[in-house]
């Protein structure tokens, strides 16, 4: 089960990375980041099971918390940019002032 879980983790991370690089919608980019974080969690859990050590589970909690904080602040920024510039396309958001 460990190997198969790690292979699934690799696949999900690659899909998330493709979404992060290819998509230009800011919300979809944030969701791709969530996908990559989930793939990391999967690897942590798989190694935790293989080594019979629950430290990996503690790391998963930390990653989940960071993901929640990142989503909250990131979405607040997206809403703010949309309110002032009417755009969520990352190619159009290229000015610090505006």
């Amino acid at each position: 089960m460990t190997q198969q879980t790690l292979v699934l983790s690799v696949l999900l991370f690659a899909i998330g990375a493709v979404g992060f690089l290819v998509r230009r919608n800011a919300i979809v980019v944030l969701m791709s980041v969530e996908l990559m974080l989930n793939a990391c969690n999967l690897a942590f859990v798989a190694f935790s099971r293989q080594l019979a050590d629950m430290t990996g589970h503690v790391y998963v909690f930390m990653i989940m918390t960071v993901a929640a904080a990142e989503a909250a602040v990131g979405l607040a920024i997206v809403v703010l940019i949309f309110r002032t510039r009417r755009a969520v396309n990352l190619d159009e958001i290229n000015l610090m002032k505006g």
Binding site: V10, V22, V45, R49, A52, M54, H57, F61, M64, L75
Partner: protein, 169 residues
């Protein structure tokens, strides 16, 4: 045996939903597929004896974070023009090709590596009792620091989305 079948069902579901997340044009479809993907990953967590992590994945990720994302998508309610038309250029093709190649190489190496026997889990492995014990003893300081991080995130989000008296809309 039944575990292997369940694993492959969950894994296939997760990969298909993840592909929809990246490929869907409408962010609503992306968000709903991401919820499905997170549920499937929670199933894989449970199969790896990480019961508490699986429950928290459903509660925190699929329950809280995804509701936040869906709420923002519906708040913005983007029109087709604001979504923009899909652009395909050589950089995107290159990114997809390179990452697909890297994933295939890594996955094939992992799939053919010699497999160590998985030790039998003791009854408290992955339960609230087992994880909570080391979370509140060995990892107490990181736990408290994470609560500070959450406080900072709450304040940051609240201040960012606050409306000043001079704001439009």
């Amino acid at each position: 045996m039944i575990q292997a079948i369940a694993f492959y069902v969950f894994a296939a579901t997760a990969v298909v939903f993840a592909l929809i997340v990246v490929a869907a044009r409408n962010p609503i479809y992306s968000a709903l597929s991401l919820i499905g993907c997170l549920f499937a990953v929670a199933g894989v967590f449970a199969l790896n004896a990480a019961h508490l992590v699986a429950i928290l994945q459903v509660l925190v990720y699929a329950g809280a974070i995804m509701v936040l994302i869906l709420f923002v998508i519906m708040l913005l309610s983007l029109t087709p023009e604001e979504l923009g038309r899909p652009v395909i250029n050589w950089r995107k093709v290159l990114a997809v090709f390179l990452l697909a190649a890297a994933a295939v190489v890594l996955a094939s190496r992992l799939g053919t590596a010699p497999q160590a026997a998985v030790p039998p889990a003791d009854p408290s492995f992955g339960t609230i009792e087992g994880v909570g014990l080391i979370l509140f003893t060995r990892y107490l300081l990181p736990f408290e620091m994470v609560s500070l991080l959450l406080l900072a995130a709450i304040l940051g989000a609240a201040i960012l989305s606050r409306r000043g008296p001079g704001d439009r809309t």
